[in-house]
């Protein structure tokens, strides 16, 4: 028997990285919000790699933070190691990466959730989403509680019809031995939503006490204290090391001897797995000429002895996993705590959503995170944030919040998801961004904080920090432009000579001089040419001056791009009525329902001729 349990503006189903962001955003924007989870203990769980950041992903975390999201603040509270990687490859691809204390990460997130005004937490399994006239009306839990709501954000990760596989052993389940969500998948299918099936996997975990670290290479964190969030206090956390080892020819022999027992090769696993995160057995087969693969041993936290073996994700039978581990230097005597496994799960084919992440078919139904066929905590959190924001905006009868490809990695990711079909879980890469030089982790706040403020997510505290930074940046930039030297200035001549640089030829500003590779902004401080500024202000000015030529080049490209993006396609367009479009185009356009001509041009199968035809059709319509 169902009973009326309450009424909310927004209900979020699932409390992983997407769900937490969605729920917090919605509540912070003033909407009454219910966050439903299968297990309160597993809020913001990291069932796989205990790590946040890396190329493109760090940029995402910074973007989430700039908009008023939680992930950056939370990882700053709960990391055990943080490093800046890709240094020396350029400002656009430099990125932070942190090892997380996974238990602490979850605990800190639970604290934030429970402390959030307007946000209620509920442990239950949602079995049904009730709709009326293709609009969300309520959700119903397994125990019969019915909550009225017009907006639902589904962030169920890999739990939809989850199925665990390790060798010959198979059972229905979510990650980390949780219950799978079965009925919800049926409820979605009943609404006419098409689901696909993906596969992913995780490596075994071992006991720290049984690892012989003397046979591995220590990988310490950076000495310089980094932070993800623009508003976190300066970090003073002790850094734990990771350890590097590698597989051996013996390891590969063991894998090959047991390959007929590998579910990946016997046809048991049908879901498509990600190429960027292949199973170890897949790597051994595909790259047979390599006699060794890198493996990182990473602590899962300060208060646990569990160690994660990065690079060894596998669904081989448990007995083979033990043999594999024992063939690896440093792990000859290792004790396995958790077995590695593959998981297959249902996902919602993401082209059924709009750029706001609301379903095109069911009004008020939002999906975010792994359920949209992505992988990664950061990708999930970013979508959760956008879905939460848009659910709240809908409650407030405001326009949806959509970021363009030229504004944020979030925009690149969602546009890709909606537009391009992918036959593997989607992971963000810096190479997916056309305007990479503009979408840096150092300027995410400059790109997005004002937008976050307009939405109502950026609080006064963050806003004050941001406006102070902008003011300081303007001052510094002005000084760099205003201060000029001539070839007659002895100081500069001496300085440039000491840097083995050519002498000045004309009157040159500090800004222009910064373009030289040998000139560093810290030198200006040492020379007394520039008064002291915060390190991030100095960094920002140096990047803007040094790469001005390339940045301007990309900005010109953005202008061309935005011209096509600004040509809107009305929502009620009937592509069947557009004369001379190819059949394939009509089908793809009907499926994706692009919001602009620029968007349409990115759909596979839509040719330049089709875009011209649409342009003419739209002009005809206007007349």
């Amino acid at each position: 028997m169902n009973y009326e349990a309450g009424k909310y503006d927004v209900v979020v189903i699932g409390a992983g990285h997407a769900g937490c962001e969605a729920a917090l955003a919605s509540a912070r924007m003033g909407c009454s919000t219910l966050l439903v989870t299968l297990s309160v203990e597993n809020i913001a769980l990291m069932p796989c790699n205990p790590s946040i950041g890396g190329p493109a992903k760090a940029q995402l975390v910074r973007e989430i933070d700039a908009l008023g999201g939680e992930m950056g603040i939370n990882i700053d509270k709960a990391n055990i190691q943080i490093r800046l990687i890709n240094t020396g490859k350029g400002p656009a691809v430099q990125s932070l990466r942190a090892q997380a204390d996974k238990h602490e990460y979850g605990r800190e997130m639970i604290k934030t959730i429970l402390g959030q005004k307007g946000l209620h937490l509920l442990m239950a399994e949602v079995e049904e989403i009730e709709t009326v006239d293709e609009k969300v009306n309520a959700i119903v839990t397994r125990t019969g509680a019915r909550y009225q709501c017009q907006n639902v954000v589904i962030t169920t990760g890999t739990y939809l019809k989850g199925r665990i596989i390790a060798g010959e052993v198979m059972y229905d389940g979510g990650p980390g031995n949780q219950f799978p969500a079965v009925k919800l998948a049926d409820s979605l299918r009943a609404m006419g939503i098409r689901l696909g099936r993906f596969k992913t996997g995780t490596p075994p975990r071992v006991d720290r006490k049984s690892v012989n670290f003397s046979k591995t290479i220590e990988m310490p964190g950076d000495i310089q204290p980094w932070r993800f969030s623009y508003i976190s206090p300066q970090p003073v956390r002790e850094q734990l090391s990771c350890w590097l080892t590698h597989s051996t020819p013996e390891t590969h022999r063991i894998v090959m001897d047991n390959i007929e027992r590998a579910p990946l090769f016997t046809g048991v696993i049908k879901g498509k797995g990600p190429r960027y995160c292949p199973s170890f057995e897949d790597k051994v087969v595909r790259f047979a000429h390599k006699s060794s693969h890198q493996l990182f041993i990473e602590p899962e936290g300060r208060d646990t002895d569990e160690m994660y073996i990065q690079g060894l994700n596998t669904s081989l039978p448990e007995d083979v996993q033990v043999q594999v581990l024992h063939s690896i230097p440093g792990m000859e005597e290792v004790r396995m705590i958790r077995t590695g496994y593959a998981i297959e799960y249902d996902y919602v084919i993401p082209s059924q959503a709009k750029l706001s992440l609301e379903s095109k078919m069911v009004e008020g139904l939002f999906t975010a995170g792994q359920i949209n066929g992505t992988s990664g905590y950061e990708e999930a959190a970013a979508q959760g944030l956008i879905a939460g924001i848009n659910a709240a905006l809908k409650v407030q009868a405001r326009e949806p919040f959509i970021l363009k490809r030229s504004e944020a990695y979030i925009g690149v990711m969602i546009d890709d998801l909606i537009t391009k079909e992918s036959d593997e879980p989607y992971r963000l890469l810096t190479s997916r961004a056309e305007y990479r030089l503009l979408l840096r982790q150092d300027n995410a706040d400059l790109r997005l904080t004002e937008k976050g403020r307009q939405i109502g997510l950026v609080d006064d505290f963050r806003w004050a920090i941001f406006t102070e930074k902008k003011k300081s940046l303007a001052e510094g930039t002005h000084l760099l432009h205003k201060t000029t030297f001539t070839p007659a200035d002895k100081d500069v001549d001496k300085y440039l000579t000491s840097k083995e640089g050519a002498p000045l030829r004309d009157k040159t500003s500090l800004w222009e001089m910064l373009r030289r590779t040998e000139v560093k902004i810290e030198d200006y401080l040492n020379q007394g040419w520039l008064p002291p500024f915060q390190p991030e202000i100095l960094e920002q000015m140096e990047i803007q001056a040094k790469y001005e030529g390339y940045i301007n080049k990309q900005q010109e490209q953005v202008q061309r791009f935005e011209r096509m993006e600004s040509k809107r396609i009305p929502e009620d367009i009937d592509y069947n009525q557009v004369y001379s479009l190819s059949n394939e185009s009509v089908q793809r356009l009907n499926e994706i329902r692009p919001q602009s001509l620029g968007h349409a041009s990115r759909i596979a199968g839509v040719s330049p001729a089709d875009i011209n035809i649409l342009l003419i059709y739209l002009a005809k319509r206007r007349n």
């Binding site: 190329p55 990687i85 350029g90 691809v93 810096t430 790469y547």
Partner: protein, 457 residues
């Protein structure tokens, strides 16, 4: 509404009495003014609509490309509704193509298929009922255009595929090192440089082969060079059989590059006389000398003139060292003189494997032999290129040249700028290359990464 100015050849390509280039857009009057010298005193900016203007299309060095009749139609009273200029060219297919190239040089874009008609419609110049007809035209032109271009490319398609493949490879190397630093490590600069050089070489080859096909269609660029007063202008005159360059006895009087179109045994030849290459302090002449070097670099064929009376001196050898010997024909002039300072042995020793003609321009000796040598160079495929019969259209050539510029820029900045900046050029080269086959090659980079590298920690 449209920001870009466009131009295209409006008459069918090939030989014809005249050819028309149509230009449309907001800024075209200003742009065309830069390359058009009217016979009348009035600049075209001051001319009203529906006026015809006789004048010259000029090269960037001020030399004349073709005598043309320019029709101006002012917006909105034109086919497209924008300012339109129609350039009526007279000099056959090669000058027409050069006039079009001049339009592109001043920042006018090559029009897409059907683009004039599209603009006409969008600017309200065509009736609504005509819309569908317009669509048919665009559909037909675009699809057929692409098909044609692809068919055309069948010859060199393996070449294009090779360039694409190498570009994809180098892009994947770079992107993998950025997105998967721990698995892939740093970019191998030496390998990157080697691949970029290979790509550049392939592109050079293809562009040159394309030029070769242009020779058959449009003629050959030949240049006459040699130290002052060896008889270069006289040779040009003998070949065109009319007075064009000023011929005097004072060295250094031919200061500009002077050119004409001639026909040597059925092969159209654009022949240029040059200022004598000479170390000089005279500023005016210096400009001429520099221009000469440039022209020689671009020529398909170089006629190197020596003076039998003065012998071969250091000045001659300096010039000889500077020019590309694979495109050279040596002509020893003034053979009619009594005292000859150049021996057969000397010629054989200096110019091994290079055709040498002994002639006297004044006495009309050796002109036939020279024409024969030119013809046999073309026919025997001794000209640069490698026997590839390739037709590259202007659009493809433009894309190739732009892509090559980006490759060159990447080669210069490799090691000087961070990898993300390098990616702007390397990625740009790939994207531009995609215009040739109509593919979005950028999307294939990620596939390539997983193909070439073992990703996944």
């Amino acid at each position: 509404m449209f920001r870009e100015d466009i131009a295209a050849l409006s008459t069918p390509p090939g030989e014809g009495g005249i050819g028309i280039i149509r230009v449309s857009g907001k800024g075209i009057i200003d742009k065309i003014s830069k390359i058009f010298i009217p016979f009348s005193a009035q600049e075209i900016g001051q001319r009203r609509g529906f006026s015809l203007n006789l004048g010259w299309i000029i090269d960037d060095d001020g030399s004349k490309v073709d005598e043309v009749l320019l029709g101006i139609m002012r917006a909105p009273h034109s086919y497209t509704g924008e300012d339109v200029i129609e350039i009526n060219c007279h000099g056959g297919s090669m000058p027409i193509r050069r006039c079009l190239q001049r339009c592109l040089d001043v920042g006018i874009k090559l029009a897409e298929p059907g683009e004039f008609t599209k603009r006409a419609y969008l600017n309200g110049r065509l009736d609504l009922t005509q819309a569908e007809a317009v669509i048919d035209i665009i559909r037909a032109k675009t699809d057929r255009g692409l098909k044609l271009a692809v068919q055309q490319l069948e010859g060199p398609s393996h070449f294009i595929a090779e360039i694409e493949d190498q570009l994809l490879r180098v892009n994947a190397m770079l992107e993998a090192s950025l997105d998967f630093p721990e698995e892939v490590g740093d970019l191998d600069y030496a390998e990157t440089k080697a691949i970029l050089l290979t790509i550049k070489k392939l592109m050079d080859k293809l562009i040159r082969a394309g030029q070769r096909s242009e020779i058959y269609r449009d003629g050959l660029k030949a240049v006459i060079c040699g130290k002052p007063n060896v008889g270069k202008s006289s040779l040009l005159n003998a070949l065109v059989k009319k007075e064009k360059a000023i011929v005097t006895e004072i060295p250094g009087t031919t200061r500009d590059v002077v050119e004409d179109y001639i026909n040597i045994r059925g092969i159209p030849v654009r022949i240029m006389d040059t200022a004598g290459i000479r170390q000089t302090e005279d500023i005016v002449e210096k400009i001429g000398v520099e221009k000469t070097r440039e022209v020689i670099e671009q020529a398909d064929l170089i006629l190197f003139v020596l003076d039998a009376g003065t012998g071969i001196d250091k000045e001659d050898m300096d010039i000889f060292q500077e020019v590309d010997q694979s495109r050279l024909i040596v002509m020893v002039n003034k053979e009619d003189l009594e005292r000859k300072e150049i021996s057969e042995e000397k010629l054989a020793e200096l110019f091994r494997d290079i055709p040498v003609i002994r002639a006297s321009v004044q006495k009309s000796i050796g002109i036939e032999a020279l024409e024969e040598a030119v013809e046999s160079r073309v026919i025997q495929g001794m000209l640069p290129g490698d026997g590839m019969e390739i037709m590259i259209n202007l659009r493809q050539k433009n894309a190739l040249i732009r892509s090559r510029e980006q490759v060159e820029s990447a080669l210069i900045t490799l090691g000087q700028v961070p990898l993300d900046c390098l990616g702007v050029d390397i990625g740009g080269a790939l994207e531009t290359m995609g215009e040739i086959s109509g593919r979005t090659l950028k999307d294939e980079v990620i596939d390539r990464i997983f193909h070439d590298f073992c990703i996944g920690k």
